[in-house]
């Protein structure tokens, strides 16, 4: 499993570094852009994908289990997550899931 980080979109805020439960993300000391140490250790928990303020991080499935390109992006609002799923043929599906929080 794993994620892809778009270096162009990354604004170096460091939020993903703070949030990743696996300590997998870090900022490159030279470029200040986020990178992932090892995609093999990523659990696809999606915490970084959901909270990245510039939507620079996308979910990546391992090549072994999928052959086609499809994307799934969450957008967080205060009380729900708006998901956009685009299948390999470009068909777009959206769904809203309420957020459960104990805040």
């Amino acid at each position: 499993m794993g994620v892809i980080i778009d270096k162009e979109k990354c604004n170096s805020c460091g939020l993903c570094v703070k949030l990743c439960p696996g300590d997998l993300e870090a900022l490159d000391p030279k470029t200040r852009k986020a990178f992932i140490w090892d995609n093999d250790d990523c659990w696809n928990c999606l915490v970084c994908v959901k909270h990245c303020p510039t939507q620079a991080i996308t979910l990546k499935l391992p090549n072994a289990i999928t052959k086609h390109d499809a994307t799934l992006m969450p957008k967080m609002t205060d009380d729900e997550i708006d998901w956009t799923l685009i299948d390999p043929d470009g068909k777009v599906d959206t769904f809203k899931i309420p957020r459960k929080t104990v805040r």
Partner: protein, 249 residues
Amino acid sequence: MYPQMTLWLAANRIDPSKQPIEIAGTEPYIVGGHCQAGYWIDDGRKTTLEGLFAAGDVAGGVPYKFVSGCWAEGVIAARTVVEYVKNVELGEVDDEHVEKEIDRVYMPMRKSGGVRPNKLEQELQDMMDKYAGGIPEYYEMDEARLKIAQKELQKLAERTKDISAENTHELMLAHDMIDKIEVAQVLVEHLLFRKETRWPAYQTRLDYPKMDDENWLCFVNSRRDPKTRKIDVFKVPYKQMVPGDRYKG
């Protein structure tokens, strides 16, 4: 459904409302909150080590607690700790001990060219899968194979002395590895000790395929001697808390 599952279905053009999905029973976790393994605790989540408390996956005896159960145990432990610290006097910090700990923790970064944690992890995974009842063996095991696991673990444990880390992330993985091998060693000792099959599909002993209440309706505990590193395994009696026939719901 997990998000990556949704993406996988879409990426492979599978419509789950039209096409059946293949499923398989996997990963019956022996250690952690899914099962009973963990440190021996009392009702207040105090461990057998003075001043150490355990809650969640590391606390034994309470199977299938999941996330909510771990939280509940955290609250129970916290309440006990609050009472406990009222009577604790702060001790002196031994600087020499602190220095030693820093040396121990950073040692893998001070070496180079040693064995990398990821390599050891793959070896550990493959070996445990094969000899200690992993998924390719359908979680089945027997004494002969467990004894091989015991030997292989000893070799792996010795090789951790050579572990090296190039950065702080790898340093964390290096310590993860050292701990994982230790957990695997304890696990194999427990699997060897219990000569019955109490939890088929989690712990299927091919050489003792039946459940044997006469000898094994008990807990199995262990303790590791910090000096000799020997693991001592022993029985702890089972006490029934809810009266009645325990095999009828």
